[in-house]
Point group: C2
Chain length 691, copies 2
Amino acid sequence: MIRRFDYGTPLPTDALVQEIPLCGETLPFFTVAKTENGLTFTYPLGREELIYGLGETVRGINKRGHIYRSWNSDEFSHHEDKQSLYASHNLLIFSGEGKPFGVFFDDPGEVIFDLGYTGADTAAITSVNGDLRLYLIEEDSLNAIVRSFRQAIGQCYLPPKWAFGYIQSRWGYAADGEVRTIVNEHRSRHIPLDGVCMDIDYMVDYKDFSWNKEAFPDLRQLSADMKQEHIRLIPIIDAGVKQQEGYDVCDEGLRNGYFCTCEDGTPFVGAVWPGRSYFPDFFRPEVREWFGKKYHGLMEQGIEGFWNDMNEPALFYSERGIAEARQELTKLLDMNLGLDAFFHLKDVLMGMQNNRRDYASFYHKYAGQQVRHDRVHNLYGGFMTRAAHEGLRSYDPDKRHLIFSRASYVGAHRWGGVWQGDNTSWWSHILMNLKMLPSLNMCGFLYTGADLGGFSGNTTEDLLLRWLQLGVFTPLMRNHSALHTRDQEIYRFGMQEDMKNILTVRYALLPYLYSEFMKNALTGGSMFRPLAFDYPEDAAALRIEDQLMLGEGCMIAPVYEQNARGRNVYLPEDMLLVRFRSAEDYCLIPMEKGRHWIDLDLNEMPLFIRKGCIVPLSRGGEWVEAVDFDTLTLLGWLDGDAAYAIYNDDGTVAAPVLADGLREIRVRTADGKAAAEAQGLTVDAAKLIVG
Amino acid sequence: MIRRFDYGTPLPTDALVQEIPLCGETLPFFTVAKTENGLTFTYPLGREELIYGLGETVRGINKRGHIYRSWNSDEFSHHEDKQSLYASHNLLIFSGEGKPFGVFFDDPGEVIFDLGYTGADTAAITSVNGDLRLYLIEEDSLNAIVRSFRQAIGQCYLPPKWAFGYIQSRWGYAADGEVRTIVNEHRSRHIPLDGVCMDIDYMVDYKDFSWNKEAFPDLRQLSADMKQEHIRLIPIIDAGVKQQEGYDVCDEGLRNGYFCTCEDGTPFVGAVWPGRSYFPDFFRPEVREWFGKKYHGLMEQGIEGFWNDMNEPALFYSERGIAEARQELTKLLDMNLGLDAFFHLKDVLMGMQNNRRDYASFYHKYAGQQVRHDRVHNLYGGFMTRAAHEGLRSYDPDKRHLIFSRASYVGAHRWGGVWQGDNTSWWSHILMNLKMLPSLNMCGFLYTGADLGGFSGNTTEDLLLRWLQLGVFTPLMRNHSALHTRDQEIYRFGMQEDMKNILTVRYALLPYLYSEFMKNALTGGSMFRPLAFDYPEDAAALRIEDQLMLGEGCMIAPVYEQNARGRNVYLPEDMLLVRFRSAEDYCLIPMEKGRHWIDLDLNEMPLFIRKGCIVPLSRGGEWVEAVDFDTLTLLGWLDGDAAYAIYNDDGTVAAPVLADGLREIRVRTADGKAAAEAQGLTVDAAKLIVG
């Protein structure tokens, strides 16, 4: 059951697709009071109470013990004490002694979540706006709360099937020949690959929807040639539109008044990659339609996927900031530049970027009003993705396209996927990215993944290898890195054979991964879940922070420490360990419920299958379309008959119907042997362990 | 056996106290070649080879898989990819298939350790100077290599016994009344305490050896009153001397030519906390003597301990840097401040701090030459500590005094302790600080510890509580935090009772901790050791990165994850788990060799005692001198007779003789019971478990 409570004058957010009527009762659990920061909801935490939710954030699956701040931020350094990343997903789920409950703070402005930080026994959530809808979600279990919330916020975005392939990306790929080389280096070594991302370098002066005609003299031919190789190109689109006369997007936007404005109605200018730029007012349907159709230009070149970036929106600086900085600099030059002046100057310069005053200085036309940006800041990125989604859909209404975004708010899960932002080549970020997965799923974001190997900083080959061993399971599986960092393509490293072998596991598992993605996407379930959600009565499972349930039958537990040759794992029930070296080189080890140490050499990765469950393994392929989803080896440890509902479709149908794609794999066991059958599939039961 | 190999024209470093003759043979293991960065020593790594050493650095006990850079740096953010911290400890120990060996690169300039980073199977160590002495240490075991090296570098610094007490510190304590309040808040709650650090705020304009007479109208009286309360004040001394006419230290330094100079012989000026400052040339004995005696002024006020800071030396900026920055700023103001200009300006400003060109622009008089600073950079901090050590010793030659430093090089371990630098209130830093301990011990630094609760950033109470549970074991046990961060004194928090209880464990364990410190300090042993050093044949022990051997009989394994209620522990042999809530509230659980999960509530901490070993537990006290070292409860799990050599002295004797302080505790077991005796001690065997 979901109940709605309103405070102040909430603006629409489009987070929900269900209309929940206003509840006339008093909000339970929380006390509500105006505080110096806004409107604060206070809830006493039980000593052993756990808190879930918040989607894309740093730290634990259990969010207790930190302050989080919903304020979409271009934040390049994801330390454990960061309060904000690129997205705002204001769902909390409290799991204490009584029945668990969820609460969604539907507020597009800044919201501060003090979850046992100031006082270890208190959660205090503050809406700075004070204008919000609060949804209270009460169901019998943690998983039921998520399903109820997910039903309310609507079905998540569905990518095409090819987008489950391995994607190579790097800030710096700048020319036709470079793209071809990267693809060749993969194909010639039989390293699976389905896509290459084009970062900002492909554009002319970072102008959206442009491409450098010298570097890419025939983009259509390149796309076509790549398509022959079963590779899709995935160009980036940024939020800011370069201020430049004669640039069609700029001219049209100005002419039609499509950009965000200052208070006086003149277009707001902020500097991002293209230099001084305008920001489309994605809050308006006509602006979204205009901007969305701009994607068609690249689609006409054969492009089928995009990523939206810088859409928090990031602001390097504004006219206001620069004027103030000039003033300060001039003042400081007049003085004897002493210690205080030096630190002040640094502060001024550092403070220009993503400055709060800039976010309070421009406006949207929204809900019939002129709305100051900071009141609705967290919606901006999602609405850009909505523009893209609608544009892509209008180009080809029957087809799914790839679109994923950096910034988002709940609701944006219906319009695109998200990547987990600009992480770093740190071992700690493997675990950070793992912990985000179930939280993102709770908030509707199923198509997601991290920059494998790490975006900023320099990777090492063992770090990339271990990270790939997690990436095998994430719907978006992309290797991405920043300019000026160490080359990070698999073929650069001595351990490339091990990395390639790990990729074969991904492609072999695609029938399972795609089935679990689609089944959960179409029914409001989570592909990744904390162990606590599936084993709520198991005290040990409650505090497991480095393992996840994956789909119906699996648990994952990757190695995330350098120089480790194994790890501790907790099995909440009997499970079959599959220790993979490659799709063809693996061993099966039945293991009992409980705590175990698992040996895992650098080139080995584990998958755990719940006793009684079946996981279908294909023969893999070097690209998604080469994978035969119908010829399957079944893995599992059975003590009786079992079944698995596998899903498949053509990979592009825009509105798939679950029932149409499901086929039942049935296994009968007798006398210690298993026999399998499935209509239209070739299923091999030889690897099933019975007993 | 240690062999010496010379390259180029090495400068003296005073790292060793033994004279090792030059070896005429060819250096084994390594190939040596001139490379673009300097002189490079290359060694092929076995697939499973581990690397130890490097003292104060980030990342693993096993250093493999990263680039480290010996270049003492004022580095406030200890990410896992930092290459340099405050100290340079150029010892490596390789442990592969053959016999392990150690190698000490005795080079006071920049040394780059590429340990399986560029190529996973290669270690490449580059001396930028190309002038160095290389010492090759070959012994039968890892522990023997350390003992051999430690013998060569001489006995480590010995602090007074009171310095093993709990110390409260904060950047910001600024007045007599504040110090008294802090002490009262501890004493009135019976939270043990032995010292209060005074950070830079006690000075006048950050002038070394000054104190603010308004804030501290009678420092001598304050010291005396504190001494009555069994509290020592521990003021900070920085490396830079404020440029100010009439300030005696400045005037004397200038008059006598005691400061580092520019190439032309004029004193070098750099900005640090006091603004423009001079830097004493600690490389000269007469400068050390002069500066060391300056400490006497504070000692005359009753001070018995100091900490030396900013002695890498940190440089906020120099005259050169400021001139260049002004020029750049002026240029930029003349332009339309665009994107490139903006980022360039940021780079200029950020690059002014600790700029390499500044370190190449001043000179020391050393070894009969004018030596450019960057050639000997890493010696500076240690030589400042040497000045302090010699000054303190000259004030009272029969007494030990407390001195610990931020920067150091091998050799400085003879002159003072080190704290582990300006860490952050991050959970990951508990583990980082744990991992530094054995590496620091290998390099001679036994008196060490981390800023408990974290220096920068805001702690949470659970973080401080868990960090204290590690700090219980570190010789330096200091809670320290930065200006503008959350108050971090124990009494600020709801969990203060739990924290106090943890402190009682520290004070109860002092007889063991002091014994193990002194025995190892006086014999060249390590108080903290990787498990691999004590169990070299145990493959599981080799890769344990979150447990340490502590002294003769113990292993530690603190909890370092937020919201955890226990942890996995590997026991390399049968051990007794002591689960402490306080010195009086603990339980004893014999456990078998192997992997275990240990439940540990927030207020519980484990100590593991090797089967057959005894750990003496005192009744504790609220300050060190109140602890009765002679009345002891023995903890242990015995299957036969056992003994422990306990050490004690008056806590201040300058040159203690090990044999004079040792007393043997002997335990006889028979019929499942234990009886203990020790001359001059009251020992209680009732808690010993036999069987």
